[in-house]
Assembly symmetry: C2
Homo-oligomer: 317 residues x 2
């Protein structure tokens, strides 16, 4: 919810006390300790007209993504997903083939990550499709990685290129004709990959300070880590990992790759903090993009010089 989401969440928080030992609203997942391990739970609602358009994505792709974004919340804590729960409210014209094709896409990614669908709810809706996915995961007790553990001096990393999903969405909205380049980027938007193996490997290093997945774009997501951890950060814009495809596309269409990388979101890569030798402890690339600082500000640098960053791009002071 663009406006008002946070004031409602604040209102909710004043009405509920989180029991000792549990983590409630405000992280990628809730954490509920049980015997010897923590249970992680997250839930996401997807609405036709807000999160997807039936005319712009196949039912299979929507099914894939509905599961993917929830699995990504488990990845963001370093957990292993154990089950999903799917509620579907469907208008009459989506109750047959559309629903079945949605399930085919949802089942495809569920099988890939070996996560059973264990329950849910189906109901009619008057007009729009509404989908809610709940996901349950597990993690060794006390080991889930929250947003609140970033420490001054840590390096900020991301697990992969940023901006591809945003470029794919732009290609869909601008109805660009199909080319291998366009199709690649649209694929990144429609079928994001939850970084589950990476999340577990990072948790197992026991060196990660804070972690979350990139859903809104790091310009917005990183602020959650900073607020929860009570720290600041400096981001070096020239270090943002950009795919060759994104660079080509931006050159062709005069798009701003930095803007897509920072604000378009939906990359579902992991954003995390840790010691600068963290990449040596895992077997996949980690891209350093900045540093955690003490001053509770988010500063943008370009080639080592402080810059202003806004919607129009960055400018030197």
């Amino acid at each position: 919810m663009a406006k008002g989401e946070f004031s409602l969440i604040d209102f909710i928080s004043t009405h509920f006390k989180v029991p000792e030992g549990m983590v409630g609203i405000g992280d990628d997942c809730a954490i509920i300790p049980s015997y010897g391990e923590d249970t992680l739970v997250s839930t996401d609602m997807l609405l036709e007209g807000i999160h997807f358009l039936r005319t712009k994505a196949s039912p299979e792709d929507i099914g894939w993504k509905a599961a993917a974004v929830n699995l990504s919340d488990i990845a963001a804590m370093g957990g292993v997903p154990t089950a999903t729960f799917l509620s579907m409210a469907l208008p009459a014209d989506a109750q047959g083939e559309w629903a079945e094709r949605f399930i085919v896409g949802y089942a495809e990614i569920s099988r890939l990550y070996n996560v059973p669908l264990l329950g849910g709810d189906t109901t009619s809706s008057l007009r729009d499709i509404a989908i809610n996915v709940g996901v349950k995961g597990r993690c060794p007790q006390g080991k889930a990685i929250g947003r609140n553990g970033a420490k001054v001096g840590e390096t900020i990393f991301v697990t992969g290129p940023l901006g591809d999903s945003g470029a794919g969405l732009k290609a869909i909205l601008e109805q660009l004709p199909s080319t291998p380049l366009v199709d690649h980027l649209i694929g990144k938007h429609l079928r994001p990959t939850p970084r589950l193996a990476e999340g577990v490997a990072l948790r197992q290093t026991e060196r990660v300070g804070a972690m979350m997945d990139i859903s809104d774009g790091i310009a917005s997501d990183l602020r959650h880590i900073l607020r929860c951890s009570g720290v600041g950060a400096t981001i070096e814009l020239s270090s943002l990992p950009l795919s060759e495809e994104l660079r080509q596309m931006c050159t062709l269409h005069d798009w701003n790759p930095t803007d897509l990388a920072l604000t378009a979101g939906e990359d579902y890569e992991l954003l995390l903090t840790g010691p600068d030798n963290l990449p040596e402890l895992v077997e996949f690339p980690l891209h350093p993009i900045g540093t955690i600082t003490e001053d509770r500000e988010l500063c943008w640098m370009h080639n080592g010089r402080k810059v202003r960053y806004n919607k129009k791009g960055f400018s030197h002071f």
Copy 2:
């Protein structure tokens, strides 16, 4: 979903294998064994225009009921609820006061049963309100009471009067003027009581065969127990517990109390099977309404004589 719900669920079931030891789609809750206890999970979606009308119920009442029907799913397995998760999709005109008043009602019942709200999602919707509640509960390992354990010869019980909620809904839809009687029945419809203490006490007797909560009315709900257990049942219509309020209301308005008791649903009392001395093992009333039989049929009796039951009431053969 009136039509198609079950064919979609069948389609879903063919696409997902439930792992060994877990219970998936088809009962009140999914059951996920963990260390020494079972985790129960259920989820329900509520839509404006389908499940509630903003003009016919206060936001507080809708919030109460959204939580209540999910807590009732945990009660139906004999579990203890440990947390809920709330997703809200809100159109612009429901993002302020409506949402806050909804939370007030949701918080009221959550405090009453000491269940924290641990997470969720808020998003804008274009037009209608969509609410999804997920609930997590616990139960000693292997002790959750499913729908599949009814045995031939067991007595069928309900924990309280049937039809009050249906009469309350009828009073709302017919816009009956407020009287103590009308208000009482509307209250039963808008603020159902999940039978949590009763569910736990019944589970602790270790004598219950099958159990579920009454959401659609026993004429429909009982069939789930019969199908899952591979048995039949005889119901004695003269034994259905009817409240004094329901009887008075039906007399005043020439409504059919049996019909309301059997088919209106939303009573959220527990429907269960067990030995005929089960009432002696618990400290609340259990009303015997019939017997589990071998022949996989659901038979209706009235004062010991077999009757036909349909929408127009019952008739002797």
